[in-house]
C-alpha cells in the first residue's frame, strides 16, 4: 500500500486553523510517519504534485484568483475537508458581505485601486463540493486529529451536531445563563470546543457557528432578559460566522 498524502491549503484566513495541526505537538511526528505531507507551505518547502488523498482547506474565498485556485484544489483532492469558520462560513471577513467593499477598501488603503478583491467572502462549499466540515474559530485540535485518523482508516469522521450546552453538561459546569444570568450562546452554538468559555466563566459567543437546528427565537428573549440590548444581540450573531448566523435568523 502507498502512504496516503495530506495537503493543507490556505485562503483568506489568520493561519490559526492550520496552526492547530502544528499544535498537535505530541502527535505530529507520529502522524508524519503515517501520511506523506505533500503540500503544507506553512511547514515545508517540499511540494509534491497531486492528486492528494486528503486536503485540508483553511480560509474563505475573497479574490478572483482564489476562486480559480479552489477549483484546482478540489480537482486535485480525493477528500476535501474545510477547516474553521473562514472556510466553512466565510469567517469574520464576511462582514464585508453586508457592507460596501469599495468603501471598506478606501478606509484601509490610500489607493484602493491597487486592491483586487471580491465584494464577498464566501465559504468553500459555495464554490466546490466539500466532503467534511470542521467548524470553529479556530477548530478544535482533538477534532482535527480524530478526523484525520478516521479518514486514514477509511471511516467518516464523527462530528457533533448538538450544542455547546452538551459539552458544558459533560464537564459538569454550572449553567451561566440559568445560575448567573450571564448571556450565553451555548444553547444554539455547535458543540466541539469542550465548552471553553463557560469554563472560564464567560458566556459562549458562538465561535463554532450555529448547531444543526438552533432554536434562536427562544434564546433571544433570554439574552435580552440577561441584559443584552437589541444591538448587542445583533452584534453577537454577526461576528465570526456571520453568513451562517444571518441565514439562521428567524
Amino acid at each position: 500500500m502507498t502512504t496516503p498524502t495530506l495537503a493543507v491549503w490556505k485562503f483568506a484566513s489568520c493561519d490559526g486553523c492550520q496552526l492547530s495541526l502544528l499544535d498537535c505537538e505530541d502527535e505530529l511526528l507520529e502522524l508524519a510517519g503515517k501520511v506523506r505531507i505533500a503540500h503544507f507551505l506553512e511547514a515545508s518547502g517540499t511540494v509534491v504534485p497531486g492528486p492528494y488523498d486528503v486536503s485540508l482547506v483553511e480560509g474563505s474565498i475573497t479574490t478572483p484568483a482564489d476562486l480559480r485556485r479552489i477549483r484546482e484544489v478540489r480537482a486535485a483532492s480525493k477528500v476535501l475537508v474545510t477547516i474553521g469558520a473562514c472556510a466553512t462560513a466565510g469567517g469574520v471577513q464576511a462582514l464585508r458581505n453586508f457592507a460596501d467593499v469599495r468603501e471598506f477598501a478606501s478606509i484601509v488603503y490610500a489607493h484602493p485601486e491597487y486592491i483586487d478583491t471580491l465584494a464577498t467572502s464566501t465559504p468553500v462549499a459555495a464554490h466546490v463540493r466539500v466532503d467534511h466540515e470542521l467548524h470553529g474559530c479556530p477548530i478544535d485540535r482533538g477534532q482535527l486529529l480524530g478526523t484525520i485518523t478516521a479518514l486514514l482508516a477509511g471511516r467518516a469522521p464523527d462530528l457533533p451536531d448538538t450544542s455547546v450546552c452538551t459539552d458544558c453538561k459533560r464537564r459538569g459546569l454550572t449553567c451561566l445563563l440559568v445560575a448567573d444570568g450571564t448571556p450565553c450562546l451555548g444553547p444554539v452554538t455547535r458543540a466541539g470546543c469542550g465548552a471553553l468559555c463557560p469554563g472560564v466563566h464567560r458566556g459562549c459567543f458562538g465561535c463554532f457557528g450555529p448547531m444543526a437546528k438552533p432554536n434562536t427565537p427562544v434564546l433571544i428573549p433570554l439574552l435580552r432578559s440577561r441584559g443584552m440590548s437589541e444591538a448587542d444581540v445583533d452584534r453577537v450573531f454577526s461576528t465570526f460566522t456571520v453568513t451562517e448566523t444571518r441565514r439562521e435568523e428567524p
Binding site: C14, G16, L29, A32, E42, A99, G199, R235
Partner: protein, 430 residues
C-alpha cells in the same frame, strides 16, 4: 559591459505565515529593485471594527493572526483602556504579562524549530529534520507545548484565547491552578538553554545592518505587554505619540502598508528589542546570550534565531517568577465604562511592536480603528536586506542565490497574515 540576464523563479516561499511574493531586478551587476509583494488577500479589519462595541476589538483583532493572537488582544486592550482612562490592578497586569510570556515561548519555538532551523541544516522542513535529529525536533515541540500549556491555563485556549477582556480577564487562576505549570516550565527552561547552545553552533552569514531600531521599553524590566517606545537613533516617545513618528504609506506592490519612522526605514522585533534592551534581561538569559557569542547588541539578521532562543529563556524565567509570587487578585477585571476619546496601545508581539489606535464615541462604539503590525513596519528593512544580501552574493549560482534570498526573508519570521506561504521570487536581470 555585462548584460547577463538572470531569471529565477520560486513559486512558493514556505515556512512563513501568509501569502507574499518577491521580486528582484538586477541590472549590470546591481540590484535595481527588491520588492516584497504581500498579496495576502485584504481582510478589512480596520473597516469593520467601526460600529463595534468597545469590548469587542480584543476578540475580533485576535483573528488577524492565529500565531500571535495575544499580541492583538493585548494591544487592543491597552488602547481601549487608554481611551477610557482605566489602569489595571497590578495583579491583573501581571497575569497579562504571564499570558504574553506563553505566546513568546510558543511562537518563538515554532519559528526556531519548525520554520527557521531547517534553513541552517539543509532540510526542507522539521519533519525531514526529525528523520536525522528526532530528539532535537521533539525538544522543540516540547518547548512549544510548554508555551501553549501556559496560554491554555491563563487564556483558556492557545489560539485565540477566550479569557481575555478589556480591563483584564473573565476569571483568574488560583495558586493551585498554576502549580502544575511550575514543573512544565522548569523542564522547558532546560530545553530553552539547550536551544540557545544548539543554534549557537550554526553557521551565520556575516552581515551587519544599519537600520534604525524601534522597541518598547519599560523601567526595570524587558518590555513585553506594555511600555513606551524608544529607538536606536535616540528618540523616545509614548504610544500616544506613535502616529507623530510612524507614517504608513500604500505602495502598489503590496496589500500591506509600508511604515517609516521620521521618513526612514527601521526595524522592530527580536533584534531591535535585544539591541535596545539586553541590559534588562535576566542573569540566566544574559549568560546564555554571552555563551552563544552575542554581545549586548545584535544587528545580524541571520542571528535572530539566537536572539529568539534567548528571549524564550527570559520568557520562561519571567513566567516562573510571576507564578512564584502569584496571589490571585481580588477581582479578575476592572470595569471599563466607555467614554468618548481616542486611545493608543502598544505591546511587543514576538515579531515586533504592534500598535493599535481606537477612537470611541460616547456610546462606546468604535468610530475609527488603526492597526500597525510589525511586518508592515519591517517591510522596508526586509527589502533593504534583500537588496544588500543579493548584491553581496551576485557571484552565487541562481539556485543558491534564491535560497539565500528566501532565508533572508525568513530571518524576520514575517507574519504576512498580519502581512507568506507564497513567495514568488522573480529575478529580472538585464
Amino acid at each position: 559591459m555585462s548584460h547577463r540576464s538572470r531569471q529565477l523563479k520560486v513559486s512558493s516561499l514556505a515556512r512563513v505565515e501568509g501569502e507574499g511574493a518577491l521580486r528582484v531586478q538586477i541590472a549590470d551587476g546591481r540590484v535595481e529593485r527588491a520588492e516584497l509583494n504581500i498579496y495576502e488577500p485584504p481582510r478589512f479589519f480596520e473597516a469593520f471594527l467601526r460600529g463595534r462595541a468597545h469590548t469587542e476589538p480584543p476578540d475580533i483583532t485576535a483573528r488577524i493572526c492565529g500565531i500571535c493572537p495575544v499580541a492583538y488582544q493585548t494591544s487592543a486592550c491597552n488602547a481601549i483602556e487608554d481611551a477610557c482612562g482605566v489602569t489595571l490592578d497590578p495583579g491583573i497586569a501581571e497575569a497579562r504579562r504571564l499570558l504574553y510570556c506563553g505566546e513568546w515561548i510558543s511562537s518563538h519555538a515554532l519559528h526556531i524549530y519548525l520554520l527557521h532551523a531547517p534553513d541552517f541544516l539543509g532540510h526542507p522542513d522539521a519533519i525531514s529534520l526529525a528523520t536525522r535529529h528526532r530528539d532535537v525536533v521533539e525538544r522543540g515541540l516540547a518547548l512549544k507545548k510548554a508555551g501553549n500549556t501556559l496560554l491554555e491555563t491563563i487564556g483558556g485556549r492557545a489560539i485565540h484565547p477566550v479569557n481575555v477582556r478589556v480591563g483584564g480577564f473573565y476569571s483568574l487562576p488560583t495558586r493551585a491552578d498554576l502549580r502544575p505549570l511550575d514543573e512544565t516550565l522548569r523542564r522547558a527552561l532546560d530545553d530553552a538553554l539547550a536551544t540557545v547552545r544548539w543554534t549557537a553552533g550554526f553557521e551565520f552569514p556575516d552581515v551587519e545592518l544599519d537600520h534604525d531600531l524601534l522597541a518598547a521599553s519599560e523601567p526595570g524590566r524587558y518590555a513585553i505587554a506594555d511600555g513606551s517606545l524608544h529607538t536606536a537613533s535616540g528618540l523616545a516617545f509614548t504610544p500616544q505619540e506613535f502616529p507623530d513618528h510612524v507614517v504608513e504609506t500604500h505602495v502598489p506592490h503590496s496589500t500591506a502598508l509600508h511604515a517609516s519612522l521620521g521618513g526612514h526605514r527601521y526595524l522592530t522585533g527580536p533584534l531591535a528589542r535585544y539591541t535596545l534592551n539586553s541590559a534588562q534581561l535576566s542573569e540566566t538569559a544574559r549568560q546564555a546570550a554571552a555563551e552563544a557569542g552575542l554581545g549586548p547588541a545584535c544587528r545580524n539578521p541571520f542571528r535572530s534565531i539566537l536572539v529568539r532562543g534567548v528571549e524564550i529563556v527570559y520568557a520562561i524565567e519571567e513566567a516562573l517568577r510571576i507564578i512564584e509570587a502569584w496571589e490571585r487578585p481580588p477581582r479578575a477585571f476592572v470595569e471599563v465604562p466607555p467614554r468618548a476619546g481616542t486611545g493608543h496601545g502598544i505591546s511587543e508581539a514576538p515579531r515586533g511592536t504592534l500598535y493599535h489606535r481606537y477612537e470611541l464615541g460616547a456610546d462606546g462604539l468604535v468610530r475609527t480603528a488603526t492597526i500597525v503590525p510589525p511586518t508592515s513596519q519591517n517591510q522596508a528593512a526586509i527589502e533593504a536586506d534583500l537588496r544588500r544580501v543579493v548584491e553581496d552574493h551576485l557571484d552565487l549560482g541562481d539556485a543558491e542565490l534564491t535560497t539565500l534570498a528566501e532565508r533572508t526573508i525568513r530571518n524576520y519570521d514575517p507574519c504576512i497574515s498580519c502581512a507568506a506561504h507564497f513567495l514568488d521570487i522573480t529575478w529580472e536581470g538585464r
